[in-house]
Amino acid sequence: MVKATGQLDLDEEGKWDYQGHSSGLSFMRGLRQFDDMFQIPSDESPSLRHQSMSYEPPSPGSLSIAGSTTAPSNVPLPSRENARILCDSAIIQYSAMLRVVHLPTFYKQMSRLYEVAPENYGSAETSFLPLFYSVLALGKLYSENDTGVDVASYDILTDEGYAAKSPCASFVHANAVQTQVLQSFAPALGHY
């Protein structure tokens, strides 16, 4: 018989958090029964505690689903060459398995942003901007991790990955190890 360990937690702010029994949290608690075989950090250890982006406390609403209500600030575009590097890194390198854009179309739209003066942006350009910024954000995220500048946040990410890893992941992972090629698309598979 397997023990179902899905749980409903109440955090310090009085907010509910339900995690079902396939979750990483439940898995780690389950493993703790076999103390002798595995060294499992206790729930209080930082690796299992829920962490938000603690290296930079988000301003209220900045990451929430409702978003911020402040007027769009003017975020300058990076240089065209730099943008190309960041986009290549985000789309080709890190989301290869999650390819949702048509690359030639994407780069055609990107060129327009640089060829047309911002004050003359039409609806085609303005509707492309959110996509462009979010790709830049992802490109930036990975290029910073790559250069090792951001060691603190890397620790947080690996801790989270640790906490988030579920038995399913390990199960699939065990098989995926053989298929190193697929595994190299790690961002798509999650936090390894």
Binding site: G24, E56, S95, R99, Y133
Partner: protein, 210 residues
């Protein structure tokens, strides 16, 4: 300073987009990149919320249905890709958090993306890839198949129904050996069907090998 710039771009994107009224492919692509950003930088449960929004938007745009004759090849392929990426994210992050998926397989008849690289897809036609070459989209579809097995694992190994309450605070259930065997066979079959180029030691271009 560096950390700021990525958050700065994220916020710019977030502020320019009303994600609760997203009904075009470009906006939905933006949300997908936001989800990937959050997956690597925030709580997984925040991701789950964004994935919910993306999935609902996709449904409103009919991406789960196969209407592809109405679109030019680029649009049709983009619709398929977006749908299957969101589907995968929903299954994957749901499994990580132990939460159910929103959408039943019964409600989906969208086709899988064609396994052809972007430069062979134009507004008028989809050209064949040179023989012997493999598309990144082959890996895309292989990953979708793997995540389908992950979903089966969640269903079989972590069922919600069929649990029995025993002593206080203890809920138990059993998982049949045959179910585990079935999952093992699924995984073996997945590996079997994996294109040679995607396997370890396979002969693949650098973009796939890495």
């Amino acid at each position: 300073m560096l950390m700021r710039s990525r958050l700065k771009y994220f916020k710019a994107s977030r502020q320019l987009l009303d994600i609760t009224d997203c009904r075009d492919l470009t906006s939905l692509q933006a949300i997908i990149f936001m989800i990937q950003f959050l997956q690597s930088s925030a709580k997984l449960s925040t991701c789950y919320a964004y994935i919910g929004v993306a999935l609902r938007s996709a449904l409103r745009m009919g991406l789960h249905r196969s209407f592809n004759v109405k679109f030019n090849p680029i649009e049709a392929e983009t619709r398929k890709r977006i749908f299957w990426v969101i589907r995968r994210m929903d299954t994957y992050v749901g499994a990580m958090l132990g939460l159910p998926r929103f959408l039943d397989d019964e409600d989906i008849d969208q086709e899988w993306p064609v396994e052809v690289d972007d430069e062979y897809i134009t507004e008028t036609e989809i050209l064949p890839m040179p023989s012997g070459s493999i598309s990144v989209m082959a890996a895309f579809n292989a990953h979708t198949r793997l995540v389908q097995i992950l979903n089966k694992i969640c269903k079989y190994v972590y069922p919600i129904k069929g649990t029995q309450s025993g002593a206080k605070n203890s809920v138990t259930y059993s998982v049949g050996y045959s179910k585990i065997r079935e999952i093992e066979q699924d995984l073996a079959r997945w590996l079997d069907e994996l294109p040679i180029a995607l396997r370890p030691g396979g002969d693949a271009p650098p973009i796939i090998r890495r």
